[in-house]
């Protein structure tokens, strides 16, 4: 289905446009009250996201990467600039969202899945695979208050992984849990990323981005410095980091 079309543009437009950001900025109020000063988490971000992309967002800590994901998920709206979503559902991968301590694993799976956009019947249909993947067995009907932290992490991941939006937004997390489950969860997550799904993956690990993404946006201090194919952008990013550390 991917027909190569010769293009004169910087980005070869072989797929449908999903999201387009043009000079997007977003401000918070830093303090409470009428006189709270404004704080610009994002100042000027522009890039496009196409169907089937695995888009990496790279940048140092605190440059607004997570805020950018929240914008793309439709949780917040830009204070200036334009974010156009052509009609797709984008959601954040969130672990253990909405879990209630006193309820069973099964009930929490339903609740969490519903918060993330699934219907109850869809979760029930996938319950067996959730239980199996999380390796919980009969524990699924025990209150999660009795779970070890590893079990809780496994359940959280298994539920979140069932949610299948058009665009999956991932903030640093690939795998969770103890060593064994970490490998297993990272593996399925990488499989998902390598599939034809549209993924936006935020990280400050250049190596991971290089391994997983076909396109990269580099964010520095709330501004998108560069967007393009992985190699070019990462090369510039590294050059910048060297200059910074030299200075």
């Amino acid at each position: 289905m991917t027909t190569e079309i010769a293009s004169h543009q910087e980005v070869p437009q072989k797929h449908e446009l999903i999201m387009s950001l043009k000079n997007v900025g977003l401000s918070y109020r830093r303090k409470r009250g009428v006189f709270g000063e404004e704080f610009w988490a994002l100042k000027d971000v522009s890039f496009d996201l196409y169907q089937g992309d695995t888009l990496g967002i790279i940048g140092r800590n605190g440059v607004g990467k997570s805020t950018l994901l929240r914008l793309m998920a439709g949780i917040m709206q830009p204070s200036h600039g334009q974010l156009i979503n052509t009609g797709y559902q984008a959601s954040l991968l969130s672990l253990q969202l909405g879990f209630i301590y006193y309820l069973s694993g099964r009930e929490n799976a339903i609740l969490s899945g519903m918060f993330m956009g699934l219907r109850k019947r869809e979760i029930l249909k996938r319950m067996d695979s959730i239980i199996e993947f999380a390796e919980l067995g009969d524990f699924i009907d025990q209150p999660i208050a009795t779970y070890s932290s590893g079990m809780l992490a496994r359940l959280g991941f298994s539920v979140a992984f069932q949610v299948d939006p058009d665009v999956l937004l991932i903030d640093e997390i690939l795998g969770v849990g103890d060593a064994e489950f970490y490998q297993k969860s990272t593996k399925v997550m990488q499989e998902k990323i390598h599939s034809n799904k549209t993924i936006v993956f935020v990280s400050h690990h250049a190596a991971l981005i290089q391994q997983l993404c076909n396109r990269v946006v580099w964010i520095e201090n709330g501004v998108s410095r560069m967007a393009g194919d992985t190699r070019t952008v990462l090369a510039e990013y590294h050059k910048f980091l060297h200059l910074e550390s030299a200075a």
């Binding site: 949780i75 301590y101 006193y102 309820l103 519903m114 918060f115 109850k120 209150p143």
Partner: protein, 264 residues
């Protein structure tokens, strides 16, 4: 999976509201040894205190003061618990709001539902108490659903408006508690102000501007005095409540994307 239609979204949110209500109620019962029995024991303890205090110690054993008081307290408690809990709901959902895009109006609605379910338990107990005291089911009982409905409208209106504002003014929570206490004393839970001597007509009119005065009186009329409720007052309360619901909904939707940015 393209974006859902409005109707699909509506039913998905409705399902979420009901499941979350169930989950919250269940979590509450799981927290204690006696579980949901507390929804019965707690009001019994509460009512017993008032029975001992007024019925036995202050000598109202024979007249209808204790039922009068308990009807007032039960009805008031529903209103009060919804308002004071709902005011914190949007603020309290901060973590969730940072991770998923949900219409924020569902948070106060979930709370109103859970508190209303608990109220229905207490109200059933109240009915049992009244029947034991010799009050009988009368021909005005059919008005009870109407009374519930009107009070629910009032509760939704006040709750939505409070929930919409409190995230911006968290200090308001302390004010709300105290205003509720003040309104409690002005709502005729303890005494029927209109029957007091030396009350000016003007003050009486002011007193009846409080919707809870009317609702509590209407519940007493139906449950204790075999009288019809004041339909005109109920209609006025409904109209103002609907306006309030519209306004609260408007506020919450206006700030839909601002709430996730507000500090908890």
């Amino acid at each position: 999976m393209r974006k859902e239609t409005r109707i699909q979204l509506f039913f998905r949110y409705l399902e979420l509201i009901f499941y979350k209500t169930y989950a919250d109620l269940r979590a509450e019962t799981e927290r204690t040894y006696l579980g949901f029995m507390w929804w019965i024991f707690e009001p019994i303890m509460y009512m017993t205190i008032f029975y001992v205090m007024f019925g036995i110690l202050l000598g109202h054993r024979t007249d209808d003061y204790v039922p009068f008081l308990l009807v007032g307290l039960t009805i008031w408690q529903w209103f009060k618990s919804c308002l004071s809990h709902a005011s914190e709901t949007i603020l309290g959902a901060h973590f969730l709001m940072q991770h998923v895009n949900l219409p924020k109006i569902i948070f106060p609605i979930i709370l109103i539902l859970t508190d209303t379910v608990k109220f229905l338990f207490i109200f059933t107990l109240l009915l049992v108490f009244l029947w034991l005291r010799g009050y009988q089911i009368n021909e005005y009982y059919w008005a009870l659903p109407v009374l519930f409905f009107v009070q629910l409208l009032l509760i939704i209106a006040c709750s939505l408006i409070l929930a919409a504002i409190v995230p911006f003014l968290p200090d308001l929570r302390f004010v709300v508690e105290n205003v509720l206490t003040a309104v409690f004393f002005m709502s005729g839970v303890f005494l029927d102000v209109s029957k007091l001597p030396h009350v000016l007509d003007f003050h009486k009119q002011l007193y009846y501007l409080n919707p809870m005065v009317n609702l509590i009186e209407d519940f007493r009329n139906v449950l204790m005095y075999n009288r019809a409720p004041d339909w005109q007052a109920l209609a006025i309360i409904s109209i103002f409540s609907l306006l309030g619901i519209w306004f609260g909904k408007y506020l919450i939707q206006k700030f839909e994307y601002v709430y996730p940015k507000v500090m908890p």
